[in-house]
Amino acid sequence: MSPVGSGPTIGVLALQGDVREHRAMLEACGVASRAVRRPAELDGLDGIVLPGGESTTMYKLARTFDLFEPLRSALRDGLPAFGTCAGMIMLADHIEAGIVGQETFGGLDVVVRRNAFGRQVDSFEEPVEFTPSWAEPFTFPATFIRAPWVEKVGDGVEIVARAATADGGDRIVGVRRGCLLATSFHPEITGDARIHQLFVDLVTAR
């Protein structure tokens, strides 16, 4: 952890998933990070990353270990968050194809469909145009793993990335509202910290 006062501390939800990769990305951005498994570990955070993994497992563990409500209210109170894949699902206000009783932390007024791009044999890499309103656009080497997509966005939700689909259309794979950012793909496993840096910029600009 960084010395007190030297910059933001960003948590990474560490119930399950690719926590280490996200922490390495935050480190590459020069930001201190902290694994979060318990409610007390939310104290003093400037932002939180919800990693890739299994959303059903994260939900179950967050409920059991009394992290669900504290994190949900922290997000409601404006804690900046960045979710990738399962993390995007956890940030969505509405999900499709969840398991019975599966809830999300919410915060982003979007409808996200789980495993929308298909099974693992359909998982793919594709360069996507990332077009944030708060920075210059760039092309990002995106990795989609049993990935969700965004079916609908509510008012005030900015679409920051779309992926081309085989039928010639495209799907929404990156969204942002205020300090909440979510992608269907996994920037944390590419070794490319640009999207994490954009999130850090959102956190520090508050």
Binding site: G17, D18, K60, V121, I145
Partner: protein, 298 residues
């Protein structure tokens, strides 16, 4: 918009899939009902197979890939990833499993090997593979053949965690040893490990395998899972340990919790209460050598 086509079956998506399973528990299931129980308990994936290792051990005979109908039923029943086992070297079973749309194939010593010389050429598949290993050389040979995830073998179907411990400690100790070598000593190390120099060099530089390392084979209790995680496993396969025990749903959930909070004895103690009987188990030492599954694969 970019015009490039999406590319499937790359190393990044194969290895990346395993990264997403980290910190999680993958459970053996033989029916759609069991798969549902596993999903509800918080499993990150299920392994579909016809008989759990304990039954394979008890019943003997040749043990093969599962019935496609059964695998379909499990794929239908759950939304989490579904893995399935192919026999060592049986590339046609693997082709069938890929065609069924399973999310990961376990080229597994738990089934009867189909080829005593060659493993499957895993690079030629879109679906990723996990393979067992008892030591670093074996792990690196499987990665060379295209495995995107490694699990320490342990001794499946026993409920005896001792071999899982030995294999995990061996792999981790051999990695530490590599990391401590001088650059000019890595050539001989590669020869001794019977693994390609480039891969050996990569492991020495990073101090870890280039793929995710899970544990398997004999994990039966929350404390077993917690110990294996503390020994450096990145996640846990539980085979017979859940559905061969009393209260499978409770035990499954307890092992999931103990895996996440593996470093917190208070949590492990709490979840270990009231689980009823663990699977009966067999001491690995009492199994005659030819019947030890970990010795299949090379």
């Amino acid at each position: 918009m970019e015009n490039q086509n999406p590319t499937t079956g790359t190393s990044a998506v194969k290895r990346g899939m395993a990264e997403m399973l980290k910190g999680g528990v993958i459970m053996d299931v033989v029916t759609a009902e069991q798969a549902k129980i596993a999903e509800d308990a918080g499993a990150v994936a299920v392994m579909a197979l016809e008989r759990v290792p304990a039954d394979i051990r008890a019943q003997g005979g040749v043990s093969r890939m599962s019935d496609p109908d059964m695998i379909d039923g499990i794929i239908e029943a759950v939304s989490i990833p579904v893995m399935a086992k192919a026999r060592i070297g049986h590339f046609a079973e693997a082709q069938v499993l890929q065609s069924l749309g399973v999310d990961y194939i376990d080229e597994s010593e738990v089934l009867t090997p189909a080829d005593y010389a060659n493993h499957i050429d895993k690079w030629s598949f879109t679906v990723p593979f996990v393979c067992g290993a008892t030591n670093l050389g074996e792990a690196l040979r499987r990665i060379t053949e295209g495995a995107a995830m490694i699990r320490s073998k342990g001794e499946a179907g026993t409920g005896d965690v001792s071999n899982a411990v030995t294999h995990m400690r061996t792999i981790r100790a051999e990695i530490r040893r590599l990391a401590a070598l001088e650059a000019d000593e890595l050539y001989v190390a590669a020869k001794e490990l019977q693994a390609p120099y480039e891969l050996v060099k990569e492991v020495a530089a990073n101090g870890k395998l280039p793929v995710v390392l899970f544990t398997a084979g004999g994990i039966a209790t929350p404390a077993d899972a917690a110990m294996m995680m503390q020994l450096g496993a990145e996640g846990v396969f539980v085979g017979s340990g859940i559905f061969k025990a009393g209260n499978p749903a409770e035990r499954a959930e307890a092992i999931v919790k103990a895996t996440t909070f593996h470093d917190d004895p208070d949590v492990v103690a709490k979840v270990s209460r009231g689980l009823g009987e663990a699977m009966v188990g067999i001491n690995v030492e009492e199994i005659p050598q030819p019947h030890r599954l970990a010795e299949r694969g090379w």
